[in-house]
């Protein structure tokens, strides 16, 4: 756990440094950007939402935009834990969008707050179920037919995209007038996500109840994965499907359920995002391009090492850097420079082996200094704690070897 956080932080640090180098190259290559602006740009990037005069609004919007990202990150993470690669979060997200928006926009609740809340709740739940059903499809194909989940996810993504455009284009009553291809928002129907006064606190930001739901769900997933038999079975299937089957677990059921939960999480993320009164949905373009947030769930989960609680922080971090990127324009860089840095951070997030060997080297030096007996005890303790996780097991072995060498 501690090791995961350390290597995530290290990848962020190395990624930022590499990004700094990239920015220097951009500054040297383009005649418009003076070299000293690299430092200004980096400062703006690291300050994230704390630039400009509307700090509270920025923070509120950052948190709001992180909400669907947390959910998609969780969606990818729980599939990873079961040994599945959920590249279909985008399609599940779209199905969540389709069902939840269809429910709220077709039920005008203006002036009836109680009914509005009920419809909102119904829409959120149905969006979740829709995503879950969509997530079941790859799980079902994997479990019953043994088809690789990646291909089914990619196919279902595009099917979902076309269905979304199709169904919304047939519902003329909920299309915005005067703005072709867009739907009306929950502002017009009075059943938006309750903002709990947060919009006043954050001075006009889009932030609402959604973030609390996202955090609660992340905690719930954490508990399910770590404290329940079901969670143990899911992880067990991820480590070794055959061994799980041998020990009497229903591995097929686990695969389908894991993908269903993953899909439900993405669907919920979509509902929480699009039921906000300030967000418009373009149904006309939906079938041509899959939503980015579905794919960005993958780096969020990777940066968090598939840890549910970690997904909250990594999603917030990604949005933080995005926000900083918007402000880099004033230093002459365009906002896509921030995307390069995020990509580099993810790239370095893969180097956990390298980082842990660096850490092991540092430990080696420490071990040489420390008394050998004390270190031996620690080694045994570590072995007990972390024996469940392969990655850590290796590290512990390294450590033990280190100690032996020191002896």
């Amino acid at each position: 756990m501690k090791k995961q956080i350390t290597s995530s932080l290290m990848s962020i640090l190395v990624g930022l440094l590499a990004g700094f180098v990239v920015m220097m190259i951009i500054a040297l290559a383009s005649p418009d950007i003076a070299f000293y602006r690299v430092f200004k740009g980096m400062g703006l990037l690291i300050s994230g939402p704390f630039n400009g005069t509307h700090i509270m609004t920025n923070v509120g919007n950052m948190i709001f935009k992180a909400t669907p990202l947390i959910m998609c990150g969780l969606s990818v993470a729980i599939a990873f834990k079961t040994g599945l690669f959920n590249i279909g979060a985008a399609g599940q997200y779209l199905m969540g969008t389709l069902v939840s928006l269809s429910i709220v926009l077709n039920n005008d609740c203006t002036g009836k707050p109680a009914k509005g809340f009920f419809i909102w709740l119904l829409a959120v739940l149905c969006g979740m179920v829709a995503g879950g059903i969509w997530g079941c499809i790859p799980g079902f194909f994997k479990a019953i037919f043994g088809v690789n989940e990646v291909i089914v996810c990619i196919m279902t993504n595009w099917i979902a995209a076309n269905i979304t455009s199709w169904v919304f284009s047939a519902q003329k009553t909920i299309q915005a007038t005067g703005k072709g291809g867009y739907l009306i928002t929950t502002k017009a129907t009075g059943n938006a996500t309750p903002s709990l006064g947060l919009d006043k606190l954050f001075q006009g930001a889009n932030i609402d109840l959604g973030i609390f739901i996202a955090v609660l769900i992340a905690l719930l997933i954490h508990v399910i994965l770590n404290k329940t038999t079901f969670g143990f079975e899911l992880k067990s299937c991820g480590y070794n499907k055959d061994a799980s089957k041998y020990s009497g677990m229903n591995e097929k059921r686990n695969i389908i359920l894991s993908m269903a939960i993953a899909g439900a999480l993405s669907g919920l993320g979509a509902a929480l995002y699009y039921l906000n009164p300030g967000i418009e949905f373009n149904f006309n373009a939906a079938y041509m391009k899959l939503p980015d947030v579905g794919f960005n769930g993958i780096p969020v989960a990777l940066l968090a090492a598939s840890n549910p609680i970690g997904s909250i922080f990594s999603a917030l971090f990604v949005r933080y850097i995005n926000m900083g990127g918007e402000y880099m324009v004033s230093a002459g860089f365009n906002r896509y420079s921030a995307d390069i840095i995020i990509a580099l951070i993810i790239y370095f997030a893969g180097f956990t082996n390298l980082f842990s060997s660096i850490l092991a080297n540092i430990n080696k030096k420490k071990a040489e200094k420390k008394a050998i007996a004390g270190e031996n005890e620690k080694c045994v303790e570590n072995g007990n704690e972390q024996s469940t996780e392969n990655e850590n097991e290796k590290n512990t072995e390294n450590k033990c070897e280190t100690v032996k060498e020191a002896e």
């Binding site: 088809v147 291909i151 279902t156 076309n162 269905i163 079938y287 990777l302 995307d339 893969g350 082996n353």
Partner: protein, 320 residues
Amino acid sequence: MEVIIIQKTLMYAVPLLIVALAGVFAERSGVINLALEGEMIFGAFCGAMVGSLLARKNSALLDKPQLIFVLLMLIAAVSGALFSLLLSYSAINLKADQTIGGTALNMLAPAIVNTIALAFFNQEKVVMPANFKSYAIKNPDVNPFLQIFIDKAYISTYIVIFVFIVLSIWMYKTKTGLRLRACGEHPQAAASAGISVYKMRYLGTTISGALAGLGGYVYIATTAGGAAESGVAGMGFLALAIMIFGNWNPLWIALGAMLFGFLKCVGAVSGLIPFLQSTGLPGYFYNIIPYFVVLVVLAFTNGKSGCPKAEGIPYDKGQR
């Protein structure tokens, strides 16, 4: 009409074909190349960038569009190969998680494209001069059957099909090809037979990057109207799907790409076909068909998986 459909089918299928083969090369050598999409974007962008710079500097070259087409395909292949080294280095030398590396490259490519395009071309895409994507051969007068092959054909179609055949044979009929495949099935056994697993995996991923870059350029020049943007409409992932659909086997991949290209083309031109129009279903319905057919075929045909046994697992010398 039939001729147009077959020509359009080829147009969709050709990039898919070559990029799916790119996936095969990486995975057969033991590295999951999730970065196909990123390599396509990067290769296409480099090709288009060089193309538009050439057009600015030297207008004499504009008279030889076919030469330029081939040159830019080469540039796209080289840049795709260079870009894939980022993945190879992390996956092979540093034993990093290959999914993470691939995802990072998929994010990095559009970010680089957007940054450079906005900085030097003042918009988020690079548009090539119109005659850089002209047909190599035009023979509207021949009979319809011959028209399919020698009318309105891009030079890239022939090159891609040629490269596809040569590389497929190379992978299955030569010593190096066999060694490359051995590294994807059981690298430790391959190493004990004196094969350098690192070299073979580098070879596989580099060829993969080159083919993906090439495919990316072919896609933007033929299908996407000559503009390199921060995306290739998910073609990289589709190619990955075609690769799995074709069971990691070039012959089946070729058939899969053709089938998919045909169905996708029917979806694209559904508005023009009277028979399909008479059903009253919107274009969205026909767009769904190719994806749906793939799912149905997979459900019924999935027998033995041809997935390389050691793909995705970093090579560890100590595991013999």
